[in-house]
């Protein structure tokens, strides 16, 4: 017998602050994030850092709008991720947060080249989906588990994205150094790249582990052992194994540098595959 302790009794429909205000705020955030996109495009084209400071400021303001948007959406729907767009939106917001933290700690301006477009695209996808968003909230999501599972998984994904970006920067810098064509880039040093990659991995892995665990428990409660045959969950497990091996090789075998970088990138490809695969519980509302 499954006890549905996690269920929230369906209450009266909450009061909407303004029709679709969260969508409007998200669009505003998107507009502000576009400055970051411009920074990346111009920096790559002109091979010289352009518009970085304005991009950071715009992103900071955009982030405030973004958080407000998510807050209003959660209040109105009485749950997280009620609509497909909200999960994209949440990812984007956490990515912005991660970027701001990393920038604040390491001052790696070159990270922006990856981070800004990623943030923009995620937010853009969220805005696109916001147009045909379903009005009703799926019954399945009216569970307290969502508040545990979703944030853990999203934080984990974003931490892995940071690992990935740092390792890509590592590979670029490493190649330049090996080829002795040291250009006048402002890439971080190899040690900083490795440090960032390792720290974000150390943060991401436990989050992802707990995220997957909470998902499994939730599924167990809803439908017993059926989740085991869900391909998305299987993929998530494979991804988790790749990262487990990565941590193992780093700690036990002392893997560093290129080998570790390639593995981290492989891990992130697995993350992307898992993320884009919709099946089972995630089929209807969450990628």
């Amino acid at each position: 017998m499954v006890t549905h302790w996690g269920r929230v009794p369906p209450g009266p429909k909450p009061y909407a602050i303004l029709p679709a205000m969260h969508v409007q705020l998200l669009k505003l955030a998107l507009g502000l994030y576009s400055v970051g996109l411009l920074h990346s495009v111009f920096t790559v084209l002109r091979k010289k850092q352009t518009l970085f400071k304005p991009a950071v400021v715009a992103t900071l303001i955009g982030f405030a709008c973004h958080v407000a948007s998510i807050g209003i959406a959660v209040y109105e729907h009485r749950t997280l991720m009620a609509q497909r767009y909200e999960s994209f939106s949440a990812f984007a917001a956490v990515a912005v947060l991660a970027f701001l933290i990393v920038y604040w700690k390491y001052r790696i301006t070159s990270l922006g080249i990856f981070a800004f477009p990623a943030i923009f695209v995620m937010t853009f996808v969220a805005v696109l989906h916001a147009y045909n968003a379903p009005v009703s909230v799926p019954e399945l999501l009216r569970s307290r588990w969502i508040y545990i599972h979703a944030p853990l998984v999203i934080l984990g994904y974003v931490a892995f994205f940071v690992t990935f970006s740092a390792e890509v920067l590592y590979l670029i810098q490493e190649r330049e150094l090996k080829r002795k064509r040291v250009s006048h880039n402002r890439l971080p040093s190899l040690e900083v790249c490795e440090d960032l990659a390792y720290r974000s991995l150390a943060v991401g892995f436990p989050l992802m582990t707990l995220g997957i665990l909470s998902g499994a428990l939730w599924a167990q409660q809803v439908s017993g052992l059926a989740w085991m045959s869900d391909p998305k969950i299987l993929l998530a497990f494979i991804t988790w194994l790749i990262y487990l091996l990565l941590i193992h090789y780093r700690l036990i075998a002392g893997w560093r540098g290129k080998k570790a970088a390639y593995q981290a990138i492989a891990g992130f490809v697995a993350v992307l595959v898992t993320f884009s695969f919709s099946s089972g519980f995630h089929a209807n509302f969450q990628p």
Binding site: K180, P188, E191, K258
Partner: protein, 422 residues
Amino acid sequence: MELALIGVSHKTAPVEVRERLAFPADKIRAALAKLLERTHAAEAMILSTCNRVEIVAQGPDAQLVRDFICEYHQIPPDAISKHVYSYKNAEAIRHLFRVTSSLDSMMLGEPQILGQVKEAYRLAAEAGTIGSSLSPLLDRALAVAKRVRSETGISQSAVSISYAAVELARKIFGNLTGKTVMIIGASKMGELAAKHLKRNGVGSVLVTNRTFERAVEIAKIFEGAAIPFEHFTDHMEHADIVISSTGAPHFIITRPLAEQVIRNRRNKPVFFIDIAVPRDVDPSVNDIDNAFVYDIDDLQQVIDSNMKERMKEAGRAEEIVDREVQAFCTRMQSREIAPTIVLLRETYEKVRREEIERHRRLLRDMPAEQQQAALAAIDQVTQAMLNKILHNPIALMKEMSADPQGAEFIETVRKIFNIKSQ
């Protein structure tokens, strides 16, 4: 008053000429005093370095300054005439700004020149030959140089072997604090590279050499540890940076050795700087993961590419200098124009009154009443004429205040109207 800059530099004169024209620091004070006396300059400064000898002076005749240089050093004027350049006003300001910003240096963007200009400024100030004209000019020149340094990359990247080594080490390790460097073989260049690394935070230094005593000597300089040459391979795994410069005819650091070292370090990166010819480090070591090998040619290549980058940045620096020269000229001229205009008016007002007074006797036969009326009419007419005559030069001077040629123009006006400062 005219600003003049007369001098020779590495661009116009060979060292044989420059050394004969140099002013030793302890003689500059006396030389400045003589210079003012001989050339009637109001203010002056002498900048004498190994690459240039320049005299900046306010108010002298350029020819007199040339004569002074020849007399002082007892050289016939013909011997130097083709090497000497002289600039006036805006051109002199531009040259001074370019020199101070290291745009005219032999090694583009080298930082020493700024200190040398400061020193020359200080010597002249002590000698009392700096006044209200040169002081703001030199202050501005120093400010422009700082601006050029901070806003362009002209002195950013390394252009010497030892700095290139530091720059590369930074790209691998980021912060060099607490890193260990190992010096294999005793050479000046190796020592220099180690010195720069140490200054940039490297913690401990290990030294090894075939003659152990020499290793001990060098280790003492860096407060490091000397290692007998037979055992250096055992200690290599502690080194993050290895500088090798032995006279060995074969590779000292072979691929198997490097692989072993990296393994022992659990893949922590090692930066091999091979400044020996023939080389000490097998170039295939560079193919090992986490090992980075730079030989002397690789370092030279880094320097060449940095040099090109400096050239590019120099273009931006020239733009900054252009704008600064323009702004400085405008400021100085507008400061000079107002008193000139006042002086011009005062001088001719005085002439007018004197002339009226002088010709007053022509009216002495008139009755008092008529005389009064005639005087009033004369006063009015002469006043109007004077205004008409002075209108154009004054308007032109105001217009020229933003022009680089403005100072010369004002000088011309002063000459034509024969006005002298009080």
